[in-house]
Symmetry: C2
Subunit: 148 residues, 2 copies
């Protein structure tokens, strides 16, 4: 819940759900690592919610300290750092999936297609594939709107 | 995530999970209304996390404004106010259940019995009954420890 601070929602059901319960940044970073296929700081900065770089730095540090993510050199480019979820971090997938269901059901401005929300089954593999596809669709929608 | 603020966790897996992602109070209030059978301000104040009365007042107000809870006179005592979840609020149950699974799996200090975590099925009615029973067990455990 945003406690009076006005902010623009991204249309992501997880972002919508987070507006009800607290500091959204941590779970949005996990969302991007889990469903968005992101690994680099720069990629995480490009999400539609426009996280500030100092907040992203602080959240990544905390997530690493708490054992939800790992920080290491990119095997493709040793000068770059990549972030990946640990098993404990990946284990948050069902929490995020239920937030998608809830946000998708109750947010009139959701960019998440209803078909994705209703298709979210309890089959984890299919569910993760659907989430990734749904998120890719949503990103395309946002980019198309920005171009208009 | 608590961003440096030290605080004592209650042993509830939801409290543990909330320590990773944000302002815990909103979801803890929803937890108590959903699984704890609480309806009065005084009952909500008695939870082991020791919410401050001004924070509870602010959270209840926001939850009402956002359509997650309703505030009305207690039919048993017209001078008293009770808080109940709306359908939108009750719909958060699966999010909390997945937080219980996650916290129960990863928190070494969880007071939630492993049997409750492993028994959390996808059958919502049974799941809610299990959650309520698990929470009642946890409350008894906390009280028994306090007495020692």
């Amino acid at each position: 819940m945003s406690d009076g601070r006005k902010r623009r929602l991204s249309g992501c059901p997880i972002d919508y759900a987070l507006d009800f319960f607290g500091d959204r940044w941590t779970l949005l970073v996990i969302r991007d690592l889990l469903f968005g296929g992101k690994r680099h700081f720069k990629e995480l900065m490009e999400s539609p919610e426009r996280i500030a770089s100092n907040i992203l730095t602080a959240r990544l540090k905390k997530l690493e300290e708490r054992g939800l993510i790992e920080r290491r050199s990119d095997p493709d480019n040793r000068k770059q750092v990549i972030y990946t979820l640990t098993d404990k971090g990946r284990d948050l997938a069902p929490v995020l999936v239920e937030m998608v269901r809830w946000g998708g059901r109750h947010d009139p401005n959701s960019l998440c297609p209803k078909s994705v929300v209703t298709r979210l089954t309890r089959d984890n593999e299919r569910l993760l594939a659907d989430m990734r596809a749904g998120m890719a669709d949503a990103v395309r929608t946002v980019k198309a709107r920005a171009r208009r």
